[in-house]
C-alpha cells in the first residue's frame, strides 16, 4: 500500500500498523471458531478457540511450571551453543590446519538429518535434562559457527594490511578488528540458534521426559485432552518468542556500541 493511500484512510497512519494485523487475526480466529462449531467437530479432534479458552484457567499453573522447565533448558542450550559455535569459529579461523581438517567434515555432518538422532540421545544420556540440552546444542551451534566464521572474514584486505603495518599480532588483529567486525554476523546466527534450541528441547521432551511442555503435550494427547494440547502449543509460542528476544536485545545493545548513541 502506498503512503498516499494510507493518508487518505479514515484513521491516523500509525493506527493501521496495529489495527490491520489485529483485525486479520480476529477474523482468522473467528473463522476457526465458526468452522468448528458449524461442522460440529469434536474438541478431541480439533478444539475451537472457545474450547481452549475454557480449558486455560484450570491449567495455567501447570503450563507455567512446565514452560519454566522447557524455557530453562532452552536458554541453557542456547547460551552453550553460542559459546561452542563461537569457539569453533575462532579455532577454524585462527588455524588453517584446523580449518582444513574439520570444516569439510562439519559441512557433511550438517547434512545428517539430526532429528533422526533425537531418540539416540535418550538412549545415551537417559531421561535427564542433559540429554535434551545436548540434543538442542547439536542442532543449534552450527548456524552460530557458520555466521561467526563469515563475520571473522569480513575485515577487508586493506584493513588487515594496516594491522600488519602497525605491527599488530594475530591476536591483536582478532581482538581489535576481526571480532568486532564479526559481531553483527554472530547475532544473525544467534537468532537462528535461539529458535533451534527451543525446538531441540521440545523435540527431546516429546520423545522422553518427565516434565516440560513437550512432555505435557504428549501426556494430554494420550488422555484425549486436545484443548490442553493446543493451550500448551500457544504457551510454546510465547516461550519461543521470549528466548528469541534475548539475542535481539543483545544485538540492539551491540549496535548502539557500534554506531554510537547519537548515530
Amino acid at each position: 500500500m502506498s503512503p498516499d493511500r494510507m493518508k487518505a484512510g479514515w484513521l491516523p497512519e500509525n493506527v493501521y500498523a496495529v489495527v490491520l494485523p489485529s483485525l486479520a487475526a480476529i477474523m482468522v480466529v473467528g473463522g476457526w471458531q465458526y468452522a468448528v462449531t458449524s461442522f460440529q467437530i469434536s474438541p478431541v479432534i480439533f478444539p475451537a478457540p472457545l474450547d481452549m479458552a475454557m480449558a486455560a484457567p484450570g491449567i495455567i499453573g501447570d503450563l507455567f511450571h512446565h514452560a519454566g522447565i522447557t524455557g530453562g533448558e532452552a536458554l541453557l542450550a542456547f547460551v552453550l551453543s553460542c559459546l561452542i559455535g563461537v569457539a569453533l569459529a575462532l579455532m577454524l579461523t585462527v588455524s588453517d590446519a584446523v580449518f582444513e581438517a574439520f570444516y569439510p567434515n562439519l559441512v557433511v555432518f550438517q547434512i545428517v538429518p539430526k532429528i533422526a538422532l533425537a531418540p539416540m540421545f535418550t538412549f545415551w544420556l537417559g531421561i535427564a535434562s542433559t540429554s535434551r540440552i545436548s540434543y538442542a546444542i547439536l542442532i543449534s551451534f552450527f548456524p552460530v559457527m557458520l555466521s561467526t566464521m563469515s563475520g571473522l572474514k569480513r575485515a577487508d584486505a586493506n584493513t588487515l594490511r594496516l594491522c600488519r603495518s602497525v605491527g599488530a599480532s594475530k591476536w591483536q588483529t582478532l581482538l581489535h578488528v576481526q571480532i568486532p567486525y564479526a559481531l553483527p554476523y554472530f547475532f544473525s546466527g544467534a537468532k537462528v540458534a535461539a529458535t533451534m534450541a527451543t525446538i531441540g528441547v521440545v523435540t527431546g521432551e516429546l520423545i522422553s521426559a518427565n516434565a516440560g511442555l513437550g512432555f505435557y503435550i504428549i501426556r494430554a494427547q494420550s488422555l484425549g485432552q486436545t484443548p490442553k494440547v493446543f493451550c500448551a502449543i500457544v504457551a510454546l509460542c510465547v516461550l519461543g518468542l521470549l528466548v528469541y528476544i534475548l539475542p535481539v536485545r543483545a544485538e540492539a545493545m551491540a549496535r548502539r556500541w557500534w554506531r554510537g548513541g547519537n548515530g
Binding site: N158, L162, R164, G260, G263
Partner: protein, 265 residues
C-alpha cells in the same frame, strides 16, 4: 648512491597455478629525506605492489629496498600508510581510530593523545574527535586516516591512491590539505596515483612507470617552490610538465609496439 628510501632493481613475480605474472620488473629509484615523490602510471601497472614492498607488506622476488639505511624484510613499524579506502574501524570514534596504531604498539597513550588532538586540529576536524566514521563525509574520513598515518610520527609516509575514491572538488581540497601537511611535517613520502595533475601539484619529483611488467621510465623534477597554492596549476609551466608526462604515459601505452621492435631486432 642511496637515498632515505632506496629501491634497487626490484622484481616481483607472482606465481599462480596456471602461469607466472611479472608485476614489477627491475624498478630502481631513490627518495631523499623529506622529499615528496609520486609514482605515476596506468592502473594495474604494479605501482601499488611497489608501495606495499616499501612498507614491508609484500616480499620481493629479487633486488633490495632500504629505508633509513636498513633493509626492509617485513612490516616496519615506522611507516605511515594510507589506502584508497579509509580503512577506519566503524565502531571506533575519530580519536580512537587515530590512536589505533598507538594502542597496538602499546605506546604511552597520554603522550600521543595530545599529538592526535593537534593533528585533528591541523586537518580541520576540530569538534569531531568523538564522532564515529558513519557521521563523516568521505573527505573527512580520509583526513582521519591521514592523522592515523602520522600519529606515531613515522619516518616515511606511503599513500596508495588515497584520494581516488573522492569526488573532484573534495579531491582538490584533500590535495591542499596534504600539501599543508607535507610542508609542516616534511615527511619522506611516496604517493601512488594515476592523476597527472595531482602528481605534479603535490610532488618534488614524479616517477613514471610503464604498464606491467612495471619499471621506472622517467624521473621528472617538479620545479615549483613551496608552499604552493592552487594558482600553480594555472601556470604555463605546470601545464607543460603535465603534457610532457601525458606524452610519456601515452607512448608507453602503445600496445605491444616496443615488444615487437625488440623481437624484430
Amino acid at each position: 648512491m642511496s637515498g632515505f628510501i632506496s629501491v634497487d632493481t626490484v622484481r616481483k613475480i607472482y606465481r599462480t597455478r596456471k602461469d607466472t605474472i611479472e608485476a614489477v620488473s627491475g624498478a630502481s629509484f631513490n627518495v631523499e629525506q623529506g622529499e615528496f615523490v609520486s609514482i605515476l602510471g596506468p592502473s594495474g601497472c604494479g605501482k601499488s605492489t611497489l608501495l606495499m614492498m616499501c612498507a614491508g607488506l609484500e616480499g620481493l622476488t629479487s633486488g633490495h629496498i632500504n629505508v633509513a639505511g636498513t633493509k626492509v624484510e617485513g612490516p616496519r613499524q615506522s611507516v605511515g600508510i594510507m589506502f584508497q579506502d579509509n580503512t577506519l574501524l566503524p565502531w571506533k570514534t575519530v580519536l580512537e581510530n587515530i590512536l589505533f596504531p598507538v594502542r597496538i604498539q602499546k605506546k604511552p597513550m597520554e603522550h600521543y593523545r595530545a599529538r592526535a588532538e593537534e593533528l585533528i586540529e591541523m586537518v580541520g576536524l576540530r569538534g569531531f574527535a568523538d564522532k564515529k566514521p558513519h557521521q563523516l563525509s568521505g573527505g573527512m574520513k580520509q583526513r582521519v586516516s591521514i592523522c592515523r598515518a602520522l600519529v606515531t610520527d613515522p619516518d616515511i609516509l606511503l599513500m596508495d591512491e588515497p584520494f581516488s575514491a573522492l569526488d573532484a572538488m573534495t579531491r582538490d581540497e584533500m590535495n591542499d590539505a596534504l600539501l599543508d601537511i607535507s610542508d609542516r611535517y616534511k615527511k619522506t613520502s611516496l604517493f601512488v596515483t594515476h592523476s597527472i595533475r595531482e602528481a605534479v601539484y603535490l610532488s618534488d619529483r614524479v616517477l613514471v612507470m610503464t604498464r606491467r611488467p612495471a619499471t621506472v621510465v622517467a624521473d621528472i623534477r617538479i620545479p615549483f617552490q613551496r608552499p604552493r597554492g592552487r594558482d600553480v596549476g594555472d601556470t604555463a609551466k605546470f601545464n607543460e610538465i603535465c603534457a610532457h608526462l601525458r606524452g610519456l604515459i601515452e607512448h608507453e601505452r602503445t600496445p605491444g609496439w616496443t615488444g615487437q621492435m625488440a623481437r624484430a631486432g
